[in-house]
């Protein structure tokens, strides 16, 4: 009994230490604040880049479902890359969740302290909101009963197309930011996350 209590206290203390260290590391929540264009570009491109990484994973799952569908699901803790079971609905649900997270990241980026900074930030924010709307709409459309097999296939292809459209419009939006504000454009040009994002989009 006493040994059990000692363990509980030790574990709680350990978890508290992890929480304390994480709190000390801190976060960079700049939502509602004005930041330098460089900081804004770094955070915003980072959020879009992470989202893009998630979308890549989703598309890969949609493209290559399990090679052994007959063997049933793998036990989750032992799952392997080949064991995935990708479906359009699951992909869309994940895309909606990923976009929701990206919006959080873009909000946290704040507003660049440049003449057109607010407009540039709004452009990216509006895009992420509309991407979420489109994906949610596509997800809702799958809930509606199709009248025919043809309609059903159209629903599926439209849903898959929504993921592709969100991906393409995101890259376009980052490029458009440069046209709105040259100072932000310079920061986007220099930022390492934006550079990485550009590399990813040009190589894919």
């Amino acid at each position: 009994m006493r040994a059990g209590l000692v363990w509980i206290v030790a574990i709680v203390a350990g978890i508290a230490l992890v929480i304390g260290v994480t709190a000390a590391i801190g976060t960079s929540d700049d939502s509602g604040k004005t930041v330098t264009a460089g900081e804004w570009a770094q955070t915003a491109c980072g959020a879009v880049g992470v989202w893009r990484g998630e979308m890549e994973d989703i598309v890969e799952e949609l493209r290559t479902p399990s090679e052994f569908p007959a063997s049933g699901a793998e036990e989750p803790q032992s799952e392997t890359p080949q064991g995935r079971t990708g479906f359009v609905r699951i992909g869309l649900e994940r895309a909606v969740r990923a976009t929701d997270t990206m919006i959080e990241g873009i909000d946290n980026a704040g507003t660049p302290d440049t003449p057109q900074g607010a407009e540039a930030a709004k452009l990216v924010s509006d895009w992420s909101d509309s991407a979420l709307d489109e994906l949610e709409k596509a997800q809702d459309s799958l809930d509606e009963e199709a009248d025919s097999l043809e309609d059903s296939i159209t629903q599926l292809t439209d849903a898959a197309r929504a993921i592709g459209a969100a991906l393409a419009s995101g890259v376009r939006t980052i490029a458009e930011v440069g046209r709105v504000d040259p100072a932000v454009a310079a920061a986007v040009q220099e930022s390492s996350t934006c550079q990485q994002l550009r590399e990813d989009t040009t190589t894919s």
């Binding site: 260290v21 929540d29 980072g46 994973d57 699901a73 793998e74």
Partner: protein, 458 residues
């Protein structure tokens, strides 16, 4: 989700926990049977869609247990115990350190926890023969094995993580440079604690009861073991099988290819390879170690393996039925926790992994959230190791198989669901690994992302 929905999810969760508790109290195949009842209640009473039973894991247990039981019938386990006992003669307790690191290495090489099934009986037998409380080595090895996923370049969870952190200039090598040293430290700390954990076998009440009841034989000194003629041969075949699995797991290029859905070919999954290789190893042992096929099912390893299989069938099916229907709610709740209190992100990763029993699900939901909250990518990689939390509830195959393999009864699945043998090593391991990882990032990586540029004056 409405309040009613949340209440419903909570009630379903309590049903799952209740049936796990009932199963644990029954013991043996009771765990699987009560899991089946739980699945029935979730489907008929709550109207949930039935989840997927863990077919792959069950097939792997069948294949691995066949090979290990054939080896035992040939006297190979006795030989391994003798060799290990000689090697550990000076320091028998070193098993509590060696076994977890071997288990961890197996996962790194194959990218899956399933290979661990093959060494569970060996760890148990070696521990018992050396009068070491088997729980110490078995529980520690099970946790180390699960932790290996975050150190494996071929694991699904690692593949999920990489696209998320690449934007911050962290590639596979960077990830492994953080997770491997951190895990080695975490496993060491866990092993130190586990080597002193619990009473010695002589003082263990449950073991003494089993001994008195004749349910378990006293450990035979390694020197007294009389080896059967083909024992060494059976061990060589078994180890060759394990080695082949590791080789195929690590070097994707030598695996047979199968048609990819999107066109072209891709390497075959390691899961069916484990099944094929272990069944082949079992057959080879029958032929070359002259074991009668009828002797294999009479071995203790076969018996405990079959019990583990049934237990896993029911429990994992029930857990998957609950998780598949409620994953969104679980992620939403814990994601909300991290959004409101970003310093809770590591705990949230641990709990998502525990409640969804999926390292990949925890990775793809929690890591992007942490990054969006502005936590540095390196620090997120360090905290990602908390996905070892998949062992939080005693519903995983490796936990069930380890508990069933331990005939002394020291390795158990707990009486109150969370008080199982794996909980203390799990908590020590994830906490120390996460802290060590954070320290490694702070010391050696710093803010790997270059500082934001200063824009040119227009």
């Amino acid at each position: 989700m409405s309040t009613t929905d949340w209440i419903l999810v909570a009630v379903q969760g309590l049903v799952v926990i209740g049936f796990i508790a009932l199963g644990v109290r029954s013991g043996g195949i009771g765990l699987g049977l009560w899991g089946g009842v739980g699945t029935l209640v979730l489907v008929f009473v709550f109207g949930l869609d039935p989840g997927e039973p863990p077919i792959s894991a069950i097939l792997i247990i069948i294949a691995v247990v066949s090979a290990a039981a054939a080896m035992q019938a040939a006297g190979g386990v006795d030989y391994m115990v003798q060799v290990a006992s000689k090697a550990l003669r000076a320091r028998p307790k070193a098993l509590n350190f060696v076994a977890p690191y071997v288990s961890y290495l197996l996962t790194i090489l194959t990218g899956t926890s399933n290979t661990f099934f093959s060494i569970i009986p060996v760890i148990n037998e070696v521990a018992y023969a050396n009068k070491i409380r088997p729980e110490r080595a078995l529980a520690g090895s099970t946790v180390a094995n699960a932790l290996g996923i975050t150190s494996s370049p071929v694991a699904a969870a690692t593949a999920t993580l990489l696209p998320l952190v690449e934007i911050y200039n962290y590639d596979l090598i960077d990830v492994l440079l953080i997770t491997i040293p951190a895990s080695l430290i975490g496993i060491f700390a866990m092993s130190v604690v586990m080597s002193r954990y619990g009473t010695e076998l002589d003082a263990d009440v449950e073991y003494q009861r089993r001994l008195a009841a004749g349910e378990v034989q006293p450990p035979a000194p390694a020197a007294d073991i009389v080896l059967m003629p083909f024992a060494k041969r059976s061990v060589a075949i078994f180890l060759a099988g394990v080695f082949a699995i590791c080789l195929f797991g690590f070097v994707e290029g030598i695996r047979p290819t199968v048609a990819a859905e999107g066109g072209g070919v891709e390497p075959m999954s390691v899961t069916p390879l484990i099944q094929m290789i272990m069944l082949t190893a079992a057959a080879m042992i029958l032929v070359f170690a002259h074991v009668k096929a009828t002797d294999v099912p009479t071995t203790p390893i076969f018996r405990s393996g079959m019990i583990a299989m049934i237990a896993l069938f029911g429990i994992a099916w029930m857990a998957d039925t609950f998780i598949a229907n409620n994953e969104d709610a679980i992620v939403q709740a814990l994601g909300g926790l991290a959004e409101n209190w970003p310093f809770m992100i590591a705990v949230a990763i641990f709990l998502v992994a525990g409640l969804t029993t999926s390292q990949s699900a925890a990775t793809r939901t929690m890591v992007p959230l942490g990054l969006a909250l502005g936590i540095g990518a390196g620090y997120m990689i360090a905290m990602w190791t908390a996905v070892v939390g998949v062992l939080f509830l005693p519903a995983n195959g490796t936990q069930i198989a380890a508990a069933e393999a331990d005939t002394t009864g020291t390795t158990n699945l707990g009486k109150r669901v969370v008080d199982h043998s794996f909980q203390v090593p799990l908590q020590i391991c994830w906490i120390v690994t996460a802290l060590a990882g954070l320290a490694i990032v702070w010391l050696f990586f710093g803010d790997q992302t270059p500082p934001p540029p200063v824009p040119a004056t227009p």
